[in-house]
């Protein structure tokens, strides 16, 4: 090939690829609205995006897998943690994590209440972007060490139509993301208490004097815990504040009635003597 020939290769190839690239860009703009639910970009979401940038969250965290690798990915965080939890966490991360235990601690971002709500709105919008199903399996902020816990077990497919099996699969699916706050191993407390023996604990709890909820039996207690988390508060500073549980209170609308039944059926099988 001559120098003229190679120059032609360079110019022609570059031109062709630029045309294709620009074409795909234009087409993407036609689809962005639908893929990102652009109609849900409210003023709060936009403000939240500014908070995200201004406070430099991106240089510790990844979002949509982009950013820095010092802190957990937050793409689906609002699926794993409810608003109440996130509000409390963002007010003071050191209430939930310590350098001594977790090695890393998020410095207090010093946000106003309004900024906190905005950044949560922004993260909520991000979690719904249609991004080819990434991450392929949930990324947890914190989960117990492997042996004995089911935190890591994949399989959001139920082995049978048995309600308790269906419930177990649902428990490990995101949303609702129960597994990101609850382990089913004894003593392994994450953002929520371990549910290792909840089937048993529920029965004794409804009979204890400090229980003032509506339930009268174990199944009723578990159902109430899912639908109205604040009806009874498990003691613990990182579980609730001001009489309000950090567990999301929208499972009543997020889940179908039969799905709640399945979760109850599954959790009832969790007994101490396993």
């Amino acid at each position: 090939m001559t120098k003229r020939g190679t120059r032609r290769f360079f110019l022609g190839g570059t031109l062709a690829c630029t045309v294709l690239f620009v074409g795909m860009t234009i087409d993407s703009h036609r689809q962005f609205g639908r893929l990102t639910h652009a109609d849900q970009i409210t003023p709060a979401v936009i403000q939240g995006k500014h908070v995200w940038h201004r406070k430099d969250c991106i240089n510790c965290h990844t979002l949509l897998g982009e950013g820095a690798y010092y802190a957990p990915d937050l793409t689906k965080i609002t699926e794993h943690r409810g608003t109440a939890y996130l509000q409390a966490f963002l007010k003071d991360p050191s209430k939930f994590y310590t350098e001594a235990r977790d090695r890393r601690l998020m410095p207090n971002p010093k946000l106003t209440d309004a900024e906190i709500d905005e950044v949560i709105a922004f993260l909520g919008w991000v979690s719904k972007i249609d991004n080819q199903g990434w991450p392929p399996r949930p990324i947890l902020v914190s989960g117990a060490a492997i042996p004995g816990t089911n935190v890591g077990a994949p399989a959001p497919h139920a082995a049978s139509n048995e309600p308790s099996e269906q419930g177990e699969a649902l428990f490990r699916t995101s949303p609702p993301g129960c597994f990101s706050c609850h382990s089913v191993s004894p003593g392994v407390n994450l953002a929520g208490p371990s549910l290792a023996d909840i089937g048993e604990r529920a029965g004794t709890r409804v009979k204890s004097p400090d229980y003032h909820g509506q339930a009268t039996d174990a199944a009723g207690y578990i159902r109430e815990s899912i639908l109205h988390p604040s009806a009874y508060l498990v003691p613990g500073a990182t579980y609730s504040a001001g009489g309000r549980s950090f567990m999301p209170d929208n499972f009543g609308t997020l889940l179908k009635a039969e799905q709640v039944d399945q979760l109850v059926a599954y959790l009832r099988t969790l007994q101490n003597s396993q």
Partner: protein, 454 residues
């Protein structure tokens, strides 16, 4: 050095190297924070250290490109620089911008958009300096009335660098769209127009160091640059896979970005060809080390390690893990750090009035091997950490914090190899500022006066 105004390159190189030293210091600090606990948590948290680290990298590499261009363009065009004074003014503005940015970041003045954190007023200053720089080069070429292919590729790369910075000035309410255009700057720089710059500097150095036929090298330069754009433009899509774009970007982006390593293979072959033809007997062995080193290390860091995670089916699992900095470090070092250091070591004897045919001392060679060895070790540390993280966090499903705890040993290795690297940098700086790089009081060779200066 054939033209007096090439001396403008010297202060640019000096500034570049000082910022390089600072960049590495902040890098070590960041690695220490990975190990934790962090005594500076509330004074200088990780995010600020990290953005100072990456911004210093970009600024000093650009400073190095500018210095290299001020050295190369007069020589290739055969004319004095249009205005050395403008070049000095631009440097002062540039340094002030850089220092303001670093101090601002330390106190939280940031736009918090990865790699493009520069607050808007500083972005405008960056554009202004680039315009001063480009005007100076273009007016030099116009006055000389001639240019070479190597030079044209270099200058075109610089012009597009400036143009592609413009999307960084825009903001979008839709996060996906803002990510989309962020990569027009970041990806199309490092895997597009900067490769043009690297290719051109490589061609220039190989021509000078090996005396190989210019026509042949420049012919292949077109092939290298052609491959760069054929693979690299659509290759932008390897950053689009999971951010909310239409599905077709995945297969198309995977295919084209998998072709990108050909560019680096081409550059390595280029260097091999030159070496075979003439044996590289040039007395400036240090420049030869850095030149060949750049061709080889970029094939590893950018080519091979880029390829390792560019396919969507792989990237799905590695995206957002320490696999990314594994590749980012090795690629930036091999392609851009090494080529700038090659230009510096090549130009230095002339710039300081030393005899260009004298052999080198050992300090520079030590600096070379410490940096290469250190960076190789760091790449391995990131790779082992990233593989373990991908497995534990992404596949097994262990929590992020627990995973980071389990891979601590790799962060120790990162810190240790990072210290080796920093030692190499320290030696290079020592050599530049206190050793062979110190200008001699009286130039040994009288620079020739420009024939076209009027």
């Amino acid at each position: 050095m054939r033209y007096r105004s090439q001396a403008v390159a010297y202060p640019y190189f000096a500034v570049a190297l000082l910022l390089f030293g600072l960049q590495v210091a902040f890098g070590l600090l960041a690695a220490a924070k990975y190990l934790g606990p962090d005594p500076l948590l509330n004074v200088l948290p990780f995010d600020r250290v990290k953005e100072i680290h990456t911004n210093l990298l970009i600024v000093w590499v650009l400073t190095g490109f500018m210095g290299a261009s001020y050295y190369l363009v007069p020589e290739e065009s055969g004319a004095e620089l249009w205005s050395p004074k403008l070049a000095y003014i631009a440097l002062v503005v540039w340094v002030l911008m850089g220092l303001t940015a670093v101090i601002g970041y330390a106190f939280g003045w940031t736009e918090g958009n990865k790699l493009l954190e520069q607050p808007f007023p500083l972005k405008l200053v960056i554009v202004a300096v680039m315009l001063m720089f480009l005007a100076n080069l273009l007016l030099t070429i116009r006055r000389a009335g001639r240019w070479t292919t190597t030079e044209a590729v270099l200058v075109a790369g610089l012009i597009f660098t400036a143009l592609l910075y413009l999307p960084a000035l825009l903001t979008f309410d839709n996060y996906t769209v803002s990510i989309f255009y962020r990569w027009w700057t970041v990806h199309l720089w490092v895997e597009g127009v900067w490769e043009m710059i690297q290719g051109a500097l490589l061609a220039y150095l190989l021509i000078r160091l090996s005396g190989v036929d210019r026509e042949v090298l420049e012919k292949w330069l077109y092939v290298i640059v052609g491959l760069t754009f054929i693979s690299g433009i659509i290759g932008t899509a390897h950053h689009y896979y999971w951010v909310g774009v239409p599905q077709y970007w995945l297969p198309i982006g995977g295919f084209f970005s998998a072709l990108e390593p050909l560019v680096f293979l081409g550059m390595a072959m280029y260097a091999y060809y030159a070496m075979r033809r003439s044996g590289l007997r040039h007395p400036n062995q240090l420049a030869i080390h850095w030149t060949i080193g750049s061709a080889v290390f970029s094939a590893l860091g950018a080519g091979l390690l880029g390829l390792a995670h560019t396919w969507p089916a792989v990237n799905r699992w590695t995206h957002g893990t320490l696999i990314t900095p594994m590749h980012g470090h090795a690629a930036f070092f091999g392609a851009y750090v090494m080529i700038v250091l090659a230009m510096i070591t090549y130009a230095l004897p002339g710039l300081t009035g030393r005899d260009e045919t004298r052999l080198e001392g050992p300090v520079g060679i030590w600096a070379f091997w410490l940096m290469v060895g250190g960076m190789f070790g760091m790449t391995m540390a990131f790779a082992t950490a990233g593989i373990a993280q991908t497995y534990l966090e992404r596949i097994i499903g262990l929590g992020f914090l627990e995973t980071q705890h389990k891979i601590q040993v790799h962060f120790l290795m990162l810190l240790a190899t990072g210290l080796l690297f920093a030692l190499g940098v320290a030696l290079f700086l020592w050599d530049f500022f206190l050793g062979r790089g110190r200008p001699l009081p009286v130039p040994a060779t009288e620079p020739r006066l420009a024939e076209t200066a009027t």
